[in-house]
């Protein structure tokens, strides 16, 4: 039914508009921040939860209509167009739903709902409820814009929009200096990558004359252009997805409230880079060398981040490095051209990683904000639900056979092995899987087993409210079921077997060093002290960026420019003004002493010459009378003498 498809298009706009309307509602009627001590209003949270439910229902409706239309009439996608956004760049106000965006749409709304419900419990005592829920819903809207956009320009708007939402939410506790810094840093690191993406968009427009996904093809496009576009898009994707060399912002982003980390910094936004590349598969297929680079970068990131996750002691940072590592797997899959496998891993990862974060939040909540693994332990009896669900998620992450992560990671490694020169990629990936299992096991063992290392003055742990536990239970179901969405590659049984063994081996190693023989771990730590130091300092990447790149390079240039501005440029202006003043002073001197001096000289000279005459003109009448009479007498005397 064509009408159904059209309605579907309108429904797409609806599912985008609904959370935005809720944002406005919350901002206008959400009520002010309240003074400490009062109970915060729950209104914004309830509005947000209602909006999230409706938004999910609308999205499900869209996907169902799409499904029906596709099955019956082979309609390729749902579509709605609203003309031009920025004139000159073609119809850039369009939404589109196809299989790829359908997966992500449901994921965003689904995890979004879970996280909002969880937040009703977790964020209950926060003072500024409106800001939190408004930003969260704004994020959901922008993420949906990102996945539903039918062109690169609108996708970029969503891309920047989620970045802005992420900035707001990382900086939710802006009064903490670290949170403020992390927010700024995340935005700036992303900005660096984003300008690469922006150049890619400009190049796309120049090459294709359109930014619409349907207008992008690889026929007859010169190779340098394709390579240029592919590298620009990859550059942008690496930033948003926190891959080497842009990964530094994600661990620091853990300053945001934990539900935010679950939604934005693990399940959805950070995977936007994977989506971008899958969406641009036509271009990347035509640039296999970029793909190879991407695969190597992906597996290197996966390995690097897993090593750091092994030694991190902050529970959220362990999960952050784990996220970087798992997205590395997705990039590995993308690099070898297995786009659907990458999306599959994105899908399963969303479940277990968001659940791990929610579980971590539950633990942190119970421990009154303590995030240090070294100060946890023995929580399995006090928090049975959190323990059970987190264990399922960690097992899924580790790749325990039968759970979601096992199947998707297996397919990633499978695809890597099949690629040309894939043995090395496979080996590195397999080794990373082993490390993944070790740090997953370590996390669970440190939190839930053994005895709690008590600090003095730390209040005892308490359980979490049902509003927090319910989403965790639902997600744990996802961790089990999500792996069966794609057919299992039984024919590649050796790979299945190897990855399964790697996972179990990793968990055994973790068990051995963290439960069975903790003293062996100390021995290991001493024996490999330099390595441990390297890992604990995150391979010194953060330090190098901050000290060498920002302080030494950028800030030095900035100070240099300021000095140049104050001395040379403004100096020459002031110098010009000064020399003008000196010139005028000089001309005043010349004027006064030379030109005017000459005039004065002339007048003085004349006055001197005239001075005898002036002496006569005294103005005294008696003198005049005397001189007159004297002159008269003299004249008379003269005439008398003459006539005689």
């Amino acid at each position: 039914m064509v009408i159904a498809a059209e309605q579907g298009g309108a429904l797409l706009a609806g599912t985008l508009a609904l959370p935005l309307a809720a944002v406005l509602l919350i901002l206008v009627f959400g009520g002010r921040r309240i003074a400490a001590g009062d109970r915060p209003t729950s209104r914004p949270g309830l509005v947000a939860a209602t909006a999230a439910v409706l938004s999910l229902l609308l999205s499900v409706g869209c996907v169902l209509i799409y499904w029906k239309a596709q099955n019956r009439y082979f309609a390729p996608e749902l579509h709605i167009s609203g003309g031009e956004w920025i004139p000159g760049f073609g119809p850039t106000l369009g939404l589109m739903l196809d299989r790829l965006s359908a997966v992500l749409l449901l994921l965003v709304d689904g995890i979004g709902l879970m996280v909002i419900v969880y937040s009703l419990g977790y964020m209950r005592d926060e003072r500024d409820q409106s800001r939190f829920y408004a930003a969260l819903l704004f994020f959901i809207a922008m993420m949906k814009l990102l996945v539903l956009a039918d062109n690169y320009l609108l996708l970029f708007a969503g891309w920047e929009g989620v970045g802005f939402a992420s900035y707001l939410l990382i900086g939710y506790h802006f009064e903490r200096w670290k949170a403020a810094q992390a927010a700024t840093q995340a935005f700036l690191v992303n900005r660096i990558a984003d300008v690469g993406f922006l150049l890619g968009i400009l190049a796309l427009f120049e090459v294709y004359g359109t930014l619409n996904f349907r207008g992008i093809h690889a026929d007859g496009i010169p190779r340098p252009a394709v390579i240029g576009i592919a590298s620009a898009l990859l550059f942008g994707a690496l930033g948003k997805s926190a891959q080497i060399p842009f990964h530094v912002w994600l661990p620091d982003a853990m300053e945001g409230p934990t539900p935010v980390s679950a939604l934005i910094h693990s399940a959805t936004m950070v995977c936007a880079g994977v989506y971008l590349i899958a969406r641009s598969s036509t271009i990347f297929d035509a640039a296999p060398e970029i793909g190879r680079g991407m695969a190597i970068l992906g597996v290197a990131t996966a390995l690097f981040a897993a090593t750091v996750a092994l030694v991190e002691n902050d529970i959220k940072r362990v999960l952050a490095y784990s996220t970087i590592s798992q997205i590395g797997f997705m990039f590995l899959a993308l690099g070898v051209g297995a786009y659907n496998v990458a999306i599959f891993h994105l899908f399963t990862h969303a479940f277990f990683k968001s659940l791990l974060f929610l579980g971590a939040g539950s633990v942190i909540h119970a421990l009154h904000g303590n995030q240090n693994l070294k100060e946890m332990g023995g929580l399995r009896r006090k928090m049975p639900v959190t323990f059970a669900t987190m264990t399922i998620a960690a097992a899924a992450l580790a790749g325990v056979p039968g759970l979601a992560g096992f199947f998707s990671k297996d397919q990633v490694l499978d695809a890597a092995l099949l690629a040309p020169g894939g043995r090395l990629l496979f080996a590195a990936g397999l080794f990373t899987s082993l490390l993944t299992a070790i740090y997953s096991g370590r996390l669970i063992f440190l939190v839930f087993f053994g005895e709690r290392a008590r600090r003095s003055g730390v209040a005892p742990a308490h359980g979490s409210p049902p509003l927090m536990l319910a989403p965790m239970l639902i997600l744990s179901g996802g961790c089990i079921a999500a792996g069966y969405f794609l057919p299992i590659h039984w024919s590649q049984w050796p790979v299945l077997l190897t990855t399964g063994i790697a996972a179990l081996l990793g968990i055994w190693v973790a068990y051995r060093y963290y439960i069975a023989q903790p003293e062996a771990r100390t021995a290991l730590d001493i024996r490999f002290a330099p390595l441990a130091k390297l890992l604990r300092n995150r391979w010194y990447v953060d330090a190098i960026y901050e000290e060498q790149l920002v302080d030494r390079f950028v800030m030095r240039m900035a100070h240099g420019a300021t000095v140049v501005d104050n001395t040379i440029i403004d100096g020459s202006v002031n110098g010009f003004a000064w020399s003008t003043r000196q010139m005028s002073r000089l001309s005043r001197w010349i004027d006064r002493y030379l030109i005017d001096g000459l005039v004065q000289f002339t007048s003085h000279g004349l006055r001197f010459l005239a001075s005898p005459a002036r002496a006569l003109q005294s103005g005294a009448v008696q003198t005049y009378a005397f001189l007159f009479i004297a002159g008269l007498l003299a004249a008379l005397g003269y005439f008398i003498v003459r006539t005689r």
Binding site: G88, E160, F164, W177, L198, L202, F205, A561
Partner: protein
């Protein structure tokens, strides 16, 4: 309405006369009259779009009267899509700037308001004049009130800043006048008629060497005003010393006179010189230096207001980059970015002004954690910062993107260097935001700062709405500028060899 443009142009002047008629002691009446007239001017200017036909080539609503017949100067004003946007921006910003001085008015207010009104007429005259002599007159008229606003009502170094501003701009404008006169005499030589009419002068054919000389004469006038690197150092001094209204008008409107001059005069009158490759390369290089260098200097500023002042150097670099891309995207992006910069910088300067009124400090290190005590202020400031940093769905992005696409089409390296400015721009703006608004409340003196008042909220409200409106639905702006820009581009292409 036959004389709508003249009405808009001279309403502030009428206000000036009204203000002068009121005794100095009646400063409340003066304040009210000045605000009334600038608001009236804004409302009258809103009528212009109703009589303006979008997409019609050439100038509209032209008014012509003989003025100084002996030299051929006329009172000739008219409007096209480009000047329409700038006129509307001018009347809006002038009204808001007038209003933001509400609490600072006092017995000394008479001259102040008189000068603000004179400035408004001057700026409007610059954007409306189609006669080069008239244009020059208005151009220099603008200097006088700004000189007094900085020199009398400014900060501690006001007299240095005021003289620097005045002399620097005047020096530039003398060269501009020489360029105009050269054109005038060249035209007279060819056609035997003396005229300053822009629409006539456009027909003159110039010797390439002379054309280049004239280009650089005009360039000196415009480049100082924009200001382009390396003629920019009057700007931070003038901004820091000027009172808030002065800074707002200076950044939002006066700088646009320079870019407007390039678009209105240099490009159409001197197309061959404007397209001469080495000249284009020189102009673009200066623009790119301004973008990067201005942003780098921003990174080290300790004074809140000076930082924003330097950010104008960087942002106007984008505007001149767009102009000298010499294509549809670049030019229309440039005009739209001029409007956007007017909006976002006005917001930024207004907000600094609000803070200064409360705290009497602009040192960034005196602040920190203000978002805790001034949430509404922090929200508006965030909007201004992200609008200025070019976040999509806010106005700044529209202009940046269009300019960069225009530059990219000519030379990829231009766009590649330009985007570094976007990174640095986000850096200094977000650092400023972080250091002033976020983190713990550092000083007790800031604990009881009051949030935005009703008047302040009403002042920023139209700008915030515009920032969103242009960011989400920029089409009306593009429609307004598309036909005049197309004329310029066609004129450039017609002389391409």
């Amino acid at each position: 309405m036959p004389h709508l443009l003249s009405l808009v142009l001279f309403l502030p002047l009428a206000g000036l006369l009204a203000v002068l008629a009121i005794p100095t002691t009646q400063w409340r009446a003066i304040r009210l009259t000045a605000n009334f007239f600038s608001l009236l001017t804004f409302l009258a200017s809103l009528l212009i779009p109703a009589f303006f036909h979008i997409g019609v080539p050439g100038f509209q609503m032209v008014e012509r009267a003989s003025w100084i017949p002996t030299i051929g100067a006329q009172y000739l004003i008219g409007i096209d899509g480009i000047s329409l946007l700038l006129v509307l921006l001018s009347t809006l910003i002038s009204a808001l700037a007038m209003w933001c001085s509400w609490n600072n008015a006092s017995e000394r207010g008479k001259l102040y308001y008189a000068m603000l009104l004179m400035l408004e007429t001057g700026v409007l005259g610059v954007f409306l004049s189609l006669d080069l002599f008239l244009f020059y007159l208005f151009w220099d008229v603008v200097l006088i009130p700004m000189y007094f606003i900085i020199g009398i009502y400014g900060g501690p170094r006001r007299s240095y800043a005021a003289i620097k501003f005045f002399v620097y701009t005047l020096l530039g404008s003398v060269f501009m006048l020489l360029g105009f006169l050269a054109l005038y005499f060249q035209y007279a030589k060819q056609f035997g008629v003396y005229t300053f009419d822009l629409t006539k002068l456009i027909q003159v054919t110039l010797d390439p060497a002379i054309e280049k000389w004239i280009f650089f004469a005009l360039f000196l006038g415009f480049a100082v005003k924009v200001p382009m690197f390396p003629f920019h150092t009057w700007l931070p001094d003038a901004h820091v010393e000027a009172p808030t209204a002065g800074s707002v008008l200076l950044a939002s409107l006066l700088l646009k006179m320079g870019t407007y001059g390039f678009i209105r005069f240099s490009l159409p009158l001197l197309p061959r010189a404007s397209m001469e490759p080495w000249i284009v390369n020189l102009m673009v290089t200066l623009s790119l230096i301004a973008i990067i260098y201005g942003a780098l200097v921003c990174l080290t500023q300790r004074d809140w207001k000076k930082l924003i002042a330097y950010s104008s150097v960087s942002h106007l670099g984008f505007c001149t980059l767009g102009i000298f891309a010499l294509n549809q995207s670049g030019l229309s992006g440039s005009v739209i970015q001029q409007v956007n910069h007017g909006i976002s910088t006005a917001l930024l300067f207004l907000l600094v002004g609000f803070i200064y009124e409360r705290r009497h400090s602009r040192e960034i290190s005196d602040f920190g954690g203000l978002a805790q005590v001034m949430p509404a202020f922090a929200t508006v400031f965030a909007i201004a910062v992200f609008s200025s940093a070019g976040l999509p769905l806010l106005n700044g992005f529209i202009g940046d993107f269009t300019i960069l696409s225009g530059a990219f089409a000519v030379n990829r390296i231009w766009a590649g260097v330009g985007v570094i400015g976007l990174i640095l721009g986000a850096a200094y703006l977000l650092w400023l935001y972080q250091r002033t608004m976020m983190g713990p409340l550092k000083y007790e003196a800031n604990r009881f700062l009051s949030d935005l008042s009703i008047r302040e909220r009403l002042i920023v409200f139209p700008l915030v709405i515009l920032a969103f409106a242009i960011g989400i639905y920029p089409r009306p702006l593009f429609e307004a500028v598309s036909s005049p820009v197309q004329e310029i581009v066609e004129r450039l292409n017609s002389v391409r060899f």
